[in-house]
Symmetry: C2
Subunit: 222 residues, 2 copies
Amino acid sequence: MHSFTEENYLKAIYKLQEANGLVVATSALAQVLEVHAPSVTDMLKRMAGKKLVTYQKSKGVKLTEKGRQVAVGIIRNHRLWEVFLVDKLGYKWDEVHDLAEQLEHIHSEDLTNKLDMFLGFPKADPHGDPIPDANGVLPKSKAVLLSTLKMGERGTFTGVTDHTPAFLNYLDKSGISLGNSIKVKAIEEFDQTYTIQLKDKKDTVISYKVANSLLVNKAEAA
Amino acid sequence: MHSFTEENYLKAIYKLQEANGLVVATSALAQVLEVHAPSVTDMLKRMAGKKLVTYQKSKGVKLTEKGRQVAVGIIRNHRLWEVFLVDKLGYKWDEVHDLAEQLEHIHSEDLTNKLDMFLGFPKADPHGDPIPDANGVLPKSKAVLLSTLKMGERGTFTGVTDHTPAFLNYLDKSGISLGNSIKVKAIEEFDQTYTIQLKDKKDTVISYKVANSLLVNKAEAA
DNA sequence: TTAATTAATTAGGTTAATCTAATTTATTTT
DNA sequence: AAAATAAATTAGATTAACCTAATTAATTAA
């Protein structure tokens, strides 16, 4: 079995690879894992020895297929436990991340699958992030940033790109919840402030920063 | 926070203290933790430094109050997770131990308490072992071994002292389940084999070994 | 394209948790 | 009580995961 540390490296590499391209830099890993660069170099060598990553000196790392499987498995665990915490235990969506960081390392495929069933095979976690299936397949999402919509366009709010409690709380406070349909009423040219209309609600003004952190499934043009 | 290793030592010391008396021997710990004696000596010194145990060279260890609190907290976690696994995920009582050994180390009192509530504040785990409350108080049980009952006496089966899957499976196979009322119909003098009557069932013959691994709440004499 | 800057690696250490082999301390047995 | 046995400790190593300081490699700027 893999250590928690290895699993955290794998997850971090996976996420950086998704976000920024093929190869991941030592410094990027050091930053997200909150360790110093030489520790990363060290660890990557060990992980390369276990065929979890391909590592080329001073060139960065990539996951091997084996590494990707492990990484996706952990993400699956994480997101399922988040659903459990919110749906079953009554946690709020901004409270579950740290607990899920612990729970994701429980080693049992069987438990994961039983949990999945218990939760009713959810397709996304409380933040709208897709849950990989038992084979490690992630549903391809067609969601786009709200900030890419033009005047008059509509969509359904399906996820966030900023997972900080601060941002999630802001959304709660503003009455913006997953599943809401949103229409762009106006975009201020000067500072790209968005005026949006939430289903059955009066218009709300959000900053570009916010619009750029919300994922929506764009409604088909009528 | 304490490491998983420390927590496992604390739990082991707690259980040995309960079972065998005040002070726990290095060798006993080495055996249950499946490590070698010098590792135990080493660890005990470090734990004594953290005031989790009182350790006297060559004299054995005891938990401090602080150590006891941590140990009982872990046992609380363990047993609550076992209830979760059986009641919510559909595991059998002989399958949950190893998973609970992992889950017990999730660090969050709040999670433990929310889980407790979600499960309906169970008083015992699937094997009948009592669950400590949020203050670390364990309900005192008056259960006795079935092997201490005399001819004609009755009781309710409330727990086991042998938690091995093999034994638990044997009980399943024999139709002996937690909560069953049991009456001693006969005790064979020669080998102490018990003939017992299960509620609504025909008589069953069990060995002394089995009778000595079953806990019952003795019925008051009418 | 050389110089300056930034990123990554090597070298050498630390800590927790383990090990084996050797020694010391306790407990039994004669 | 001395000898034999068993239990515990010390001594010295190992491994994973981290660190700082020094060096080398890669990138960017002049």
